[in-house]
Symmetry: C2
Subunit: 330 residues, 2 copies
């Protein structure tokens, strides 16, 4: 498992959602490893795509702005050896307010990509960015890959479809697809402009600006967290290793942490900020999943992955990043 990073030297690699949070961090790593990177992003407003995310890499990756719904994707996938498929709508709240758009981006777009591969490049490897949101409210903790799927919102449902399409295109057409079910990911290059893509980016914004944080409920909900570099490492392993083909893997954090402890740590590290507990807005309570942490022993066993960076250090790096570059994210 040690040479998976070498695998990318000179490889043709396509990343969708490449100007977004995880996509851009992945593109940068791939370029550093010597890959020939095609960075595709639709730059839909409010979705997280940000050209600044690839600043300094404009000459090292090829940026192609395009919506994957269209025949253009059939051209773009040709000759690519690995496709990292991170294009998606990630807001749970938006998926309830506009379920049709979520369906378009998380289901129809995925079928376009897979049909393009089936027709033009069935030998490619594909790694799909799944989510722990497919599980909904856990019945048992930690949650492993055999846990029942009981999504609490339209986004969770459509992300299940996107993932299952990949697995069916593997079993029926032999496309070497796999899925990583991500838990809460944080780090540089995340959208912090609005609060509809999860709490951690929003907290990061507020702590960077020294604004008061409102924590919903009593703050005792526990979650697990991965620094984006660890998540990028999981994508690199899954893309390079044949053991991943046809598989689903949870990513989990080092240990569950309450949201209150998380916020207190962020305020301490930033040296500024404050928080208060407020009741859940009803539209958020209805889709909240309570405690969640993942069992990631399968990916550790199969691909040798585990999260490396301690939360404290990851948060410090992230706070430093947004302090330095906040003009590009606000």
């Amino acid at each position: 498992m040690s040479d998976y990073r070498d695998y990318y030297r000179g490889r043709k690699v396509l990343v969708t959602g490449a100007l977004g949070f995880i996509g851009s961090n992945l593109c940068r790593s791939l370029a550093d490893l010597g890959a020939d990177v095609l960075a595709v992003d639709s730059l839909l407003p409010d979705y997280g795509g940000n050209l600044f995310n690839l600043s300094g890499y404009e000459d090292k990756v090829h940026i192609n702005v395009a919506d994957v719904r269209g025949h253009g994707i059939e051209y773009l996938v040709q000759g690519q050896e690995v496709l990292f498929n991170l294009a998606g709508q990630v807001s749970h709240i938006d998926s309830m307010n506009d379920p049709f758009t979520d369906l378009e981006i998380n289901c129809r777009s995925q079928l376009w990509i897979l049909e393009a591969l089936r027709k033009r490049n069935p030998a490619a490897k594909v790694v799909y960015a799944g989510t722990r949101q497919v599980y909904g409210k856990p019945r048992t903790l930690p949650v492993n890959e055999d846990h029942l799927l009981t999504p609490t919102d339209v986004n969770g449902i459509n992300k299940i479809s996107g993932e299952f399409y990949h697995l069916v295109y593997h079993s029926v057409y032999g496309i070497r697809a796999c899925s990583l079910r991500l838990t809460n990911t944080y780090g540089p290059r995340q959208l912090i402009r609005h609060n509809r893509q999860g709490f951690i980016g929003w907290f990061m914004r507020q702590v960077t600006l020294g604004e008061p944080i409102q924590l919903f409920g009593d703050g005792t909900q526990k979650r697990d967290f991965d620094y984006v570099d660890d998540v990028v490492d999981a994508f690199l392993r899954a893309g390079a290793m044949p053991e991943a083909d046809g598989q689903i893997f949870n990513l989990g954090g080092e240990a569950p942490v309450s949201l209150r402890s998380l916020v207190e740590m962020m305020i301490e590290l930033a040296g500024q900020g404050s928080y208060s507990l407020v009741p859940f807005p009803p539209e958020r309570k209805a889709i909240d999943i309570g405690d969640f942490w993942a069992d990631s022993s399968k990916i550790e066993r199969t691909l040798g992955w585990r999260p490396r960076l301690p939360l404290r250090e990851g948060l410090q790096r992230t706070i430093d990043y947004y302090r330095q570059h906040k003009d590009h994210y606000l």
Copy 2:
């Protein structure tokens, strides 16, 4: 549980997919019970909608030909007390050949219906026609509702979404939705014109015409079967009983039967026909689920349902029906 049939007297009830196999049998029963039935069907070619299915009931139900994708559905749902939602694309093979159309019918249409209810009639009860196809290849038999979902084709994936949308609209918006996961249903008024909607309608056609039946594989695959009147009874119970709200229920057959035994019984009852074993066509083998039978103890416990009609008697009634009316189905 005994008066669920009385519940429908004078009720305003909407059935989608009402000219199809199960939908039309349900409409006839509802009309017999004194319900005020609005029968909605898009009559998409090749999908199973057949005006003859409501012959004799033209004056007892109101037939409205419409696609549910459109603002018309917001008008149609108003004032309805129960909505039986059976509109769907049911062919596994078609879903692989044209995944985008399957997505339109089984996902986008369902969101149209649920959004119409949310906006115009959030007090209505909704019963969704789910399918055992969501389970894919069973890990354990019989399959209960907690079995892992590992669909083998695009249809199975999109039917999961359609079902989960109903449950999320229940948990988030309080819409009283539930889902019945149907197993193989047979009986009068099923499409037998082509072989892309499951094997049992196709076998029925061949035995009615005295044509030779080709059985894929060795014929030892076991499945369970429900006569359509039993399935209609499950819909009537689920629609009338509040215990169903927010729930998923398997329907199962009386006992698993091998496809070879099924075919032999059909040939014996018809007094004509023959069969041979042939290798699976590869595109069907790739999505076949092998043995399947359902554990339906949850619906028996909760709604008092179990299948009543023995397979032999159901097959005889079905053969008699197609003999008498085959001109309307071929």
